[in-house]
């Protein structure tokens, strides 16, 4: 029942290189947005509208694996409970709301690990929902609060022409949209616009009238290009390492030309435009928020290597085969040691917090 989509998931399992153990950058972002999330729910949620038959439904779209998703939904639940208590003048309801939490991600996400690592006695009924959020994953009108964090820069597919040597939009041997080739940027943008529209249209169908949708993520400041940010520099460096590997015969240039990450970071105003074009939601809040780690010394080379390995290993494995991952990240580590990036001084992605209310 879900739209087909090229599906890349974060590294599964519970081991050293898993997303579970290498997602503290993303966690920091969620922590950074926690106060904002709490405040928005307290202010904007209409409990009367939303709680049919005593069940309150929360969905995390593109949840990957814990602990971030568990943390995010717990914040939402605690806040809804707090709001309910306030509205009841601090009297505990005889029939308190029951919470059902839907953890959504691609069908090949590691749901087994998600279920095994979820907090015991979490106070909600837990459910896993396989399927791409670039399409419907729920029946109409059932979700009260939707949440997604650091997911909407993932496209449903790589823009077709960027891997086509004969196309004007050919991305050469870059592995992502670094904004250095105009036609490539255009192709990525077209795909992003399409995906963002589908994402919002699907959520508009699934979320109850008056329900909320929280979107956290990263974009670029207006006027900033990917190659000026440390994330862009890192991805270009990983691309360079792949080219080194082609030269040593571990892989080939042709194979690298066929790898393009289905990832696009829009500029802030571009993102805003796309959200505004959807007429089913009111934008209650859309603002840049600070990322607690961006200005600290935690952003070391080792931290970045582990983080990008957890994010990219599934794609790299699928494209080049299992053996390449460790080699690639070893080379990346060496390159970083030789050409260190000043993470603090680089251009930064903008972390944004968006609260939408279903009309």
């Amino acid at each position: 029942m879900t739209a087909s989509s090229q599906s890349y998931t974060m590294a599964g399992g519970n081991g050293q290189h898993s997303y579970i153990h290498n997602s503290s950058y993303q966690k920091a972002a969620i922590d950074g947005a926690e106060e904002k999330t709490t405040q928005c729910i307290l202010e904007k949620l209409n409990l009367q509208l939303n709680s049919d038959l005593g069940t309150f439904r929360i969905a995390d779209f593109g949840c990957s694996n814990g602990p971030n998703t568990f943390h995010a939904v717990q914040t939402i639940i605690d806040t809804v409970k707090c709001k309910q208590l306030k509205e009841n003048n601090n009297e505990v309801s005889l029939m308190p709301l029951e919470f059902q939490v839907f953890f959504n991600d691609q069908t090949n996400n590691d749901f087994n690990t998600l279920f095994k690592t979820q907090p015991i006695e979490c106070g909600y009924f837990s459910v896993g929902v396989p399927g791409s959020f670039h399409g419907r994953v729920f029946p109409r009108n059932i979700i009260h609060i939707g949440h997604t964090s650091y997911t909407t820069h993932w496209l449903s597919k790589v823009p077709e022409n960027v891997c086509d040597k004969k196309s004007l939009a050919w991305n050469n041997n870059y592995i992502h949209c670094n904004h250095s080739l105009e036609e490539v940027t255009k192709a990525y943008k077209v795909q992003f616009v399409k995906d963002m529209r589908v994402f919002l249209e699907a959520r508009a169908e699934e979320i109850v009238h008056g329900g909320l949708m929280i979107v956290l993520g990263q974009c670029l400041a207006d006027g900033v290009t990917m190659s000026e940010t440390w994330q862009g520099i890192v991805l270009d460096m990983i691309g360079d390492c792949l080219m080194d590997m082609a030269k040593s015969g571990v892989t080939s240039e042709e194979k690298i030309e066929l790898l393009n990450l289905p990832v696009y970071f829009p500029q802030f105003s571009e993102l805003k435009r796309e959200i505004e074009q959807n007429k089913s939601f009111m934008i209650e809040t859309m603002e840049a928020i600070s990322h607690p780690l961006e200005d600290t010394e935690i952003l070391t080379s080792n931290f970045i290597i582990s983080m990008f390995r957890a994010i990219l290993s599934t794609i790299i494995k699928e494209h080049f085969g299992e053996g390449v991952v460790t080699d690639l990240f070893d080379r990346f580590a060496k390159k970083l040691a030789k050409f260190p990036i000043d993470f603090i001084e680089c251009e930064k992605h903008v972390n944004y917090f968006v609260l939408l209310k279903r009309k």
Copy 2:
């Protein structure tokens, strides 16, 4: 949010010994009940009562892995659609029901495989629900049709005393309740009664008023004991093989004494009594149905070996370690060859179909 429970799942994955490829006995039972299921839904389901806001929710409790669970829910959905069409005088509704199907099983069930093997374009929104059905797994009042097949003979735990050498209910070196020791039977019965009550109470909370609960399973005919049925004989034989392995030093008698299967097949009237004691459901139908395979020559030794391997390998692995499974079933094959069971002539389990309606 779920009750703790000793959790044993069917063999996961998609390989030679997986439940997926060794569950045709269970499938035949579901097929055998298909007509009954269809007829009952057509007659007893009140669509007006059940479809709030356009979503129709179906849950399969203890779904394990496909294809049986997919087949069972598809039958239910097709029938509900057919009923809706009839009630609309064959006019297709402008806002047709949307179906959400909840696949429930223990947290350590292989949900990854379940999701990857589910039919594409199945026509419903699919959801995995981890947790023991010996307790609540859903919020109140949300399921329209519940279904469970061949699950309720699994107890939430092994009755404590049956592994205790000092207890009157000590089960010696039998590995299941074969009815040869009265105190053991009593201990198993107590656990069964407790578990069945909890199962029905939980379902009564989760199913909407007027909703249906379909229970398929096996029990014993009144007056028949486990050791008279081929299933009972098979389990005793597997127990004997374990004892042989103890003699060869592969395992020990002490270890076998600590293994008791958390499985109890009640007699028909015993089951009926337990269902009747729950006052939240009306019993619409409770009857014995034929099992399409029981009288055919498909029940060969090889078939039985594969079937019991898929059912028991998780428990055996957990108790004795990974290496024991193949050895055990090789020995079992040899024993069966030496002492063949006449599956057709043995006492048979009763296959029952129960339809409950939530008051």
